[in-house]
């Protein structure tokens, strides 16, 4: 389990954590699906048919299943970007903006150094994707550390700035001459493309996601830094008194988190799209917040929840195609899942 600091009030969790966690997650999903079915009925759609279509597409064939995995990648990364600072008590709702800044700086590297060999260029693209998102989040971290602006507000506001910044380059300096009707950047050279597995859309970002999750777990659980971070999250005043440099940790945690979200953006341009284009992220940053929150910051919980949400979102596409519903409707299902957990904290295994 993701926490050894649980209060004594949850002995059962230590005895049968996996079973209990599984039962919790499944019951959340079942209740949400029932309520969402009622919503579908109200708008005159057939929920059984909708769920059957979704299931058939996502599990019925390899192509659909690989699509669910491919879409899970950015979710794992943006969720980790929420989980890490949450250990210090920081609330990062800026995954969306950090993703865009990662994509933007990665694109800059890919377009500027397109003559470099793959062995150098690809790591550079990945690194700059990380730095782009990281610096963007570090701004919010610094503002919080200075006590000027709470990171909730600053990250939310910056979410609206980053996509506009990327759009400026898509429609301006980086606009490809052959993209008259649908503005986008020039295509990346092969040396700047993150490889995919076989002919699916699943890409190496999946491994980056695992690395990020492992790094997060290792940092928080196994290092002294992680211990001090958890001390800050647990009791900031006590942490300050024992001399833990809270401000430095806040900025560093936000930088790392933003960097991880930036990797999600980097992977979208480098692996999935092969260029910078508009609307890279259909709300991956916000969904990441949800996933991390539902999983209580637990790394394996994040993997599971990311898979689940990816399935729901892929299902959203199916609903759009077969039922003529707007994609945004899938947000109702997401919200229901979250609201059920909020109303029944026991389902999440935490009482706060």
């Amino acid at each position: 389990m993701g926490s050894t600091t649980e209060k004594a009030g949850h002995p059962i969790r230590l005895n049968y954590p996996w079973v209990i966690m599984g039962v919790r997650y499944v019951s959340i999903l079942v209740v949400a699906l029932i309520v969402f079915a009622a919503v579908l009925l109200v708008v005159g759609k057939d929920p059984v048919q909708a769920y059957a279509d979704t299931f058939a597409y996502t599990f019925g064939n390899f192509r659909g299943f690989s699509e669910v995995i491919a879409r899970m990648i950015p979710l794992v990364l943006t969720a980790t970007a929420v989980a890490l600072p949450s250990r210090l008590g920081l609330i990062n709702i800026g995954g969306e903006g950090q993703l865009y800044m990662g994509a933007w700086l990665a694109t800059w590297a890919a377009l500027t150094f397109d003559h470099l060999p793959k062995l150098i260029l690809l790591p550079l693209v990945v690194l700059l994707g990380f730095i782009g998102g990281g610096l963007w989040a570090a701004v919010a971290g610094a503002l919080r550390a200075k006590g000027w602006v709470h990171e909730t507000i600053s990250t939310l506001l910056l979410n609206y700035v980053a996509p506009a910044w990327a759009n400026y380059f898509i429609f301006g300096p980086w606009r490809s001459p052959d993209s008259a009707s649908y503005p986008q950047s020039n295509a990346f050279v092969d040396a700047a493309r993150l490889p995919t597995f076989g002919d699916t859309r699943v890409h190496v970002g999946l491994i980056l996601g695992w690395i990020a999750l492992f790094f997060y777990w290792f940092l928080i659980r196994k290092t002294r830094w992680g211990l001090e971070m958890r001390a800050i999250g647990g009791n900031p005043d006590a942490a300050r008194r024992v001399g833990i440099p809270i401000r430095t940790y806040m900025i560093m945690a936000m930088f790392l988190a933003g960097g991880i979200a930036g990797l999600a953006g980097m992977a979208q341009v480098s692996a999935v799209e092969g260029r910078l284009k508009q609307a890279l992220s259909p709300g991956y940053g916000f969904a990441g917040f949800l996933i991390s929150w539902l999983a209580g910051g637990n790394p394996l919980g994040i993997l599971f929840m990311a898979f689940l949400l990816s399935m729901i979102r892929t299902g959203g596409d199916i609903l759009q195609i077969t039922q003529g519903l707007p994609f945004a409707v899938v947000n109702i299902l997401l919200a229901l899942v979250l609201m059920i957990v909020l109303a029944r904290p026991a389902l999440r295994g935490q009482t706060t």
């Binding site: 609330i91 609206y160 949800l290 945004a328 409707v329």
Partner: protein, 305 residues
């Protein structure tokens, strides 16, 4: 900078600021009761969609506004249930409501995408409209604009000059003390959340019925979050919120004005202005403002045993 540019900016600030002011006033009431609602974006969207749908069906924008207000109020009661009755985390609940609003408004508005409506018509104030130069710019607005300024004063009066307002603020400062003084904190918080929803719904309706005259998904475009920043900016004070809303409304409208007057700056860079201005203003005011916040803001009231 021509005169028409300045006048357009002035009049636009008032119109655009009105949307923000309704939402901000609602959030001031909610936060004064000790609750942070990050879900205003969702409330506004639901209000905008409901108001538009009702107006498109009935042809009566007044019914649309009333419907939008009620929809916002009821929507916020769900939020109230989560954070008051279920004592859930307020930030996460607010975001859940934001997602809920995204989806719900898309569902409500779906049949009306591209519909044409007769929105709120402008009302000229005869005596003032005749003022040289600025008269026509400022005193030719939709009725919601004229209503919002007295409303802000009214909310100030209720919050700071009535028994009910005193109780509400006491709940926001210290629910336990308020309870000891014979007030029911949960009841006051529900009332605040409902009122906040009414005003958020009207803010959304103002957007779809007076400004855009159309419904589109995500049409609030972050105005809900600007409203939250405005609450901090105005030190949780309804009257100061007027100045803030006009300023931020100006930032929102500046980009449109600059585009319209053919300034050679990318529309996307201009799009960033309101959010950067909001952030810079918050930085400039710095931590000095925090003392003005209700003491129990964001804390869960566990009840008094």
């Amino acid at each position: 900078m021509s005169l028409s540019f300045v006048l357009g900016l002035l009049s636009g600030s008032v119109t655009s600021g009105t949307t923000l002011l309704y939402a901000t006033l609602g959030e001031v009431i909610v936060q004064r009761a000790g609750i942070v609602n990050l879900g205003i974006e969702g409330v506004m969207l639901v209000g905008a969609a409901t108001g538009f749908a009702i107006t498109a069906e009935t042809g009566n924008p007044v019914l649309g506004i009333v419907g939008a207000a009620l929809a916002g109020g009821i929507f916020n009661l769900v939020f109230g249930f989560l954070v008051i009755t279920r004592m859930a985390n307020q930030l996460a609940s607010g975001l859940a409501m934001m997602f809920f609003g995204f989806g719900l408004s898309a569902l409500i508005g779906r049949p009306y995408v591209g519909s044409h409506i007769n929105g709120l018509e402008n009302v000229e104030i005869p005596a003032l409209e005749g003022l040289p130069v600025v008269g026509a710019a400022i005193f030719d607005q939709d009725p919601l604009v004229y209503l919002v300024f007295p409303l802000a004063v009214g909310i100030w009066w209720v919050l700071f000059r009535t028994r009910w307002g005193l109780s509400l603020r006491a709940v926001g400062e210290s629910p336990t003390t308020a309870f000891a003084a014979g007030r029911n904190p949960s009841l006051f918080r529900y009332q605040a959340v409902f009122l906040g929803g009414l005003l958020g719904g009207i803010a959304g309706a103002h957007l779809s019925l007076a400004l855009a005259l159309a419904w589109s998904e995500f049409m609030t475009g972050g105005r809900g979050f600007i409203a939250i920043a405005l609450v901090i900016f105005s030190k949780w004070h309804p009257i100061r919120a007027i100045a803030g809303a006009l300023l931020f409304g100006g930032a929102l409208i500046l980009q449109l004005q600059m585009q319209a007057s053919g300034v050679k700056i990318s529309a996307f860079l201009l799009e960033m202005i309101p959010f950067l201005v909001t952030l810079l203003v918050l930085i400039a005011w710095g931590g000095a403002r925090r003392h003005a916040a209700p003491a129990s803001l964001g804390r869960v009231y566990q009840g008094t045993e």
